[in-house]
Point group: C5
Amino acid sequence: MKLFHKRYHQPGTRPGELAEPVSDIFSLDLLDYDATSISVKNQIDVHDCRAFINNGNVTWIHVQGDPTHDALLTLAKGLDIHDLYVEDVVNSGQRPKVEINDEQLFVILSLPVLNNNQVHIEQVSIFLTQNTVVSFCSGEFNPFQEIVIRLQGVVGKLRRRKADYLFYNLIDTVIDYGFPLLESYSERIQEIEDELLNTADKNVLNQVHKLRRELLLLRRRLWPQREVINEILRDEENNQITPETKLHFRDCHDHVISIMELLETYHEMTSGLMELYMTSVSLKLNDVMKVLTIIATLFIPPTFIVGVYGMNFDPQLSTLNMPELQWKYGYIAVWCVIVLLISGMLALFKKHKWI
Amino acid sequence: MKLFHKRYHQPGTRPGELAEPVSDIFSLDLLDYDATSISVKNQIDVHDCRAFINNGNVTWIHVQGDPTHDALLTLAKGLDIHDLYVEDVVNSGQRPKVEINDEQLFVILSLPVLNNNQVHIEQVSIFLTQNTVVSFCSGEFNPFQEIVIRLQGVVGKLRRRKADYLFYNLIDTVIDYGFPLLESYSERIQEIEDELLNTADKNVLNQVHKLRRELLLLRRRLWPQREVINEILRDEENNQITPETKLHFRDCHDHVISIMELLETYHEMTSGLMELYMTSVSLKLNDVMKVLTIIATLFIPPTFIVGVYGMNFDPQLSTLNMPELQWKYGYIAVWCVIVLLISGMLALFKKHKWI
Amino acid sequence: MKLFHKRYHQPGTRPGELAEPVSDIFSLDLLDYDATSISVKNQIDVHDCRAFINNGNVTWIHVQGDPTHDALLTLAKGLDIHDLYVEDVVNSGQRPKVEINDEQLFVILSLPVLNNNQVHIEQVSIFLTQNTVVSFCSGEFNPFQEIVIRLQGVVGKLRRRKADYLFYNLIDTVIDYGFPLLESYSERIQEIEDELLNTADKNVLNQVHKLRRELLLLRRRLWPQREVINEILRDEENNQITPETKLHFRDCHDHVISIMELLETYHEMTSGLMELYMTSVSLKLNDVMKVLTIIATLFIPPTFIVGVYGMNFDPQLSTLNMPELQWKYGYIAVWCVIVLLISGMLALFKKHKWI
Amino acid sequence: MKLFHKRYHQPGTRPGELAEPVSDIFSLDLLDYDATSISVKNQIDVHDCRAFINNGNVTWIHVQGDPTHDALLTLAKGLDIHDLYVEDVVNSGQRPKVEINDEQLFVILSLPVLNNNQVHIEQVSIFLTQNTVVSFCSGEFNPFQEIVIRLQGVVGKLRRRKADYLFYNLIDTVIDYGFPLLESYSERIQEIEDELLNTADKNVLNQVHKLRRELLLLRRRLWPQREVINEILRDEENNQITPETKLHFRDCHDHVISIMELLETYHEMTSGLMELYMTSVSLKLNDVMKVLTIIATLFIPPTFIVGVYGMNFDPQLSTLNMPELQWKYGYIAVWCVIVLLISGMLALFKKHKWI
Amino acid sequence: MKLFHKRYHQPGTRPGELAEPVSDIFSLDLLDYDATSISVKNQIDVHDCRAFINNGNVTWIHVQGDPTHDALLTLAKGLDIHDLYVEDVVNSGQRPKVEINDEQLFVILSLPVLNNNQVHIEQVSIFLTQNTVVSFCSGEFNPFQEIVIRLQGVVGKLRRRKADYLFYNLIDTVIDYGFPLLESYSERIQEIEDELLNTADKNVLNQVHKLRRELLLLRRRLWPQREVINEILRDEENNQITPETKLHFRDCHDHVISIMELLETYHEMTSGLMELYMTSVSLKLNDVMKVLTIIATLFIPPTFIVGVYGMNFDPQLSTLNMPELQWKYGYIAVWCVIVLLISGMLALFKKHKWI
């Protein structure tokens, strides 16, 4: 996940300026349905969309990838989308937000995509007006495939109800992508925790740091979604969202809060892991030092003793000069002293629970 | 306690989808009472419940374990419980919450169950409508046995009053399970504290970490209960809860806050314990290093001295070559120097309070 | 101070259940006064209180220790005290709170008692109705002796005004016991601070930890008192407290905030002390290591040198075999090298400011 | 960035006192335009401005650097700017703020200027009244050059709309200077992160500290800008800002929040880096200690053994005196013991994963 | 700065009790002025003040030091100051606060006085009623000398306007004393920062700790002033403060917030300094250990080698007994081995960037 993710213009640039597309992924799919019929147009040309708008059915246009400026402006013009919203769609890396006016709702959400244990964030923008929903999703991954299948399958609530219920389903889907993500994080934390109490090598440190960093960035990217759902729930002026759909949004609100709380908890937990790591390192150091101290303490004094009897004072010269060398049991006495010394120290270490 | 506890559906799944039961524990008990009479039906079939609902008495249906979808939907239909509430009952691991409409109250609570010093959380869902209370509790443990006994015993307030007072009693009971839990935590903290100041081994570290982790998870699971009671107290529209019962809910609110404050305090305390542990480890390291330093400092210089007189310069060759070897008191002088050196250093150590 | 202080019932117990008295300390004193006369009844029987209630004078009943259930219920009945309040009086360890209804005020406060440098918390419950004040204080220590003396002394404001002013005086007294407590804490912090910068032994660590723990617990116990005074100030419905007395409560509010701010500051300070301790330990370790390094660095190389000339190569055998041993000034040269080596290292150490 | 940046007067000085200019940079440019025509006057004398004010066109006066008191007071008088605002313009280092009255808006903003990887903050003050905008920018760098170019180029929205839109464009420009700054910070953090996991030398420590310090100061300086935009959005009384421009200010609000959130995240991240650094240092210490321990443990015991056979007990004197010296394979046996000892310890180290 | 600064009475003492003066510093100065005339009375007797009150001019009475109870009560009676305010004036160490009623304003502020790099806090109490301002300042230092001079100098706004403007000027002056204080703190932080990166001795630790402690205490003492100014700004009932003066109070509000933000920033910064210190100590320890490890690693193995050839196995006895001693180039070979060993290790150290 990038530290800095926002696409921005040089300060002083004209507001509403569109950023250049970063990839040539671009497809436009259209679903037009009511309870009785459904028509699906994949890879449709943007100019062919017009025919479906305001035909009484619910129309859902999904734009995947980076639309060309041309396609985007055509769409915006047909549906009366404000310049600033169009800019937000293109300049990806926006903060999740909702813009509500009397007849329209415009929502920007962050979609966390988990790919080979790498998380990245795609921007999903959803626009609701009358009977039409337009959704934009940057990148290659289309998060709404499940919904396309549900729409084409058995006729359920989703087919029978209006565009606001589709709008809710899209938002709910994007938000619910947080759950598998968090589950994978919980497993990673668990793994690191297990590893950490066994080994304390540099690799674990890197993992903890990476995890903390990811959670920090993720939290910032997902945090505003809570406010988005809140504002939709609180809004009284806009008449697009029916009370029944609002009840579902309350449920969605619970999900969004659960996700934030889990993220918060995991973030706190990784701080705890870092501390645990530091303490483990100190403990290891302690162990290393104990070994050194034990070895040194056991052998330095005996080495001194044998050094004494390596001195070249000549016992022949004077009886005061190292008479021990002349004793019959001198050598054995030295060994006894050494053995006693070492045993004494071992006993002392045992008493202090060092060994 | 699991890091990730929520049962969730794949993003894009139909709202209201029910999760499969995870165990085959399932029993349904019914109590139907007023001040004069009481009838208890254990292991009753769900279809037999209908007869008791709306008969003027207070009816309490308690569902333990994982109800079958069939039983659940029958019950929901009979009592007019919304699909989304039913989903919440089944998909355990929900955040505590309350849903209030004109005639119904639906509460989800977290029940901390302490089993062999292991804590796990069960989900309790309680539904109040008219004169009927339906309670669901996941897992094997039935927290309401005490209340069943009270209902069957001397006729008291609980028997004389309406379903809202039973509703309060159930909630109060679930929340009060926090107190014995916290008391057991206070004992664990106390034990770890005592242990920690004596030994600083890896085992204590693991205990502190586990404790902190549990308190962190527990706090998150119990925290929203405060808001639940708050909302019940604040609610003005719903007419189910009488003012007298609200007075009792105020008391319950005090309990919920006490529990949260204790959890908060214990959590802060375990952070303090981790710090204390780290400091203890450092202190221990200091002690180890002091021993090493004392030994090395005492013996390295004498070892050097005896090394000097182990050199093979021949005093016979020249009077400048190690004349000390020829002195009468040479050997004794060396010992004196060594003893003085060691004594001096010991004195120095004493002065610096190392020994 | 205990980690867990609340007396609670098993979950599911009947609300309003009274806990058994924990001690047999129990006395009941009554003061009945107006501006002109005062009558004091010590150790009065609870049934004799009735005569004084509603006689137009201010009646103050003070209950010290653990009242018997019988005495308590008699009193509660005579003064129309709600069951739940009676439960709160007996089940000590309650969170400070205020309950206000049209004609009554019921306040629970925490009284910190300092005894031989040990702090413990007693629960004070004060009940105000019409012209009667009833105060309960757990434990042996009666905090209101000063007020009894003032009432019996010169006729002042306290005698001339109504029960609400007495009520204020009792609350203010309980809260002001925080000041001498905090003063004693400030002295303890000061002492530990002085000690810490000199020695960094285990004893200081224990003191810092104990202090932090006490402040943490104390903060939790006293914190809600702020809200209590706030609610009394904000209350508009109850007509017991006159505007003039409210002005005094504003003053009391200042005290309560001052106490909380000091507690907060002291708590932050002890966290600082823990950090300071850790840093001191590291510094000490650094000093120890420096000594070891200096000794080892000074003596290990010379020991190697003298080791060289202790080798038994025979200079007689070949002129390449340790010819130094044959030199006239060999021994002196070795000493010179050693002295130079040691001096050089000492100079280096001085340059690096190690000695 | 300076720790203390505010220019202040001695306490007790007359309010409205102007600080002396700190540099002689001072230029005054004027642009007067409507949709059809534009006139640009660079380095205009302050007295010549009057002719342009209230001529129906939008008039923009930009003051760069430190204006003389004389020029400033002339301008203030001509446009009815309050004394206190004039003081704020001159006494740079003000906190960002907005002052709104019926006909005027006065905004102070912080402009972060990035110069050779050094950040400093310039104060930008913008004043809006009727059709006139006056902008002041301390220092040499003029942040509005892009806007001057846009005004002189193709006739766009900026030319067609009123002074409030210019006002918005100036504010938006100043705020957007945060984005390139944050991008450069994200790169610095990235670099330090990479460096840190490889080396842990003092240089990296200084960098982390400097970074943290800069982010802390920057956060404080930019934080109030959020409140500034908020107040402009909330304001209902002032009629200068049209609803259409307010929509743009909402966009600007998003930017300001994004910037603050990034700053917050980066600040948290640098705290994490400091911790990571500390842990890395501990790890390094651990490695160093392991090397020492391995060397010492491998060689201290063999050194003791060879010391034993360096003792001068005379095997000739008694058969108990070091008979090993007389053995045929004595020397080889010693070597075998030493090799075995070292191999054993190496095996032990391998088992403990030290090598 | 003292940890505990509040002068308090024993719990239970009569509210309004006055503390005894702690020093005999006491002087009372009076200034009576309007736009045309001014009369200054230094060291005036309190009874002579009456003549000036309510004479239509603005009357400013400044009381320095500890007033006698007698003087204070005379003044209070003449100006109708409430008992509790008088108590607050005498019992210094109050929390800053404002008391507003219909005709009076009573403000308590904390004046930080910097004396020889030692900060202490004096209490300033200012009372405004009708046309009279009474200011009390504990201690010796009179913060208002500058204002006395301004009043006696050129006739400006201060002379032409009413008592509320004088009131504002006094408050503004007290608050602005925060700026030079913070500037001196910024210099101290800077100095410590520079020192810290060079040396990490105990002295710096003490400085950092002292700084943090001072900032913590200072923050607590100054924090409530923000609320004081806020309340004056928000107040609608009191008619003493004119709208024009309120505009000045807004400016004062900015100052108070700037000061708090700087204090907050400096406090965060000193926490960073403590961490930096700890990390520096660890780095130093690392350096020390490296030196030890290098020395030990370089010399312990060669010492072992030379120890080997110091063994007394007799090469004459058997050809297997240390035949090396008999070799012609044995001694030189040993030296070669040693030199190779040391060079090898030096190369290894260089590779690991230890030297």
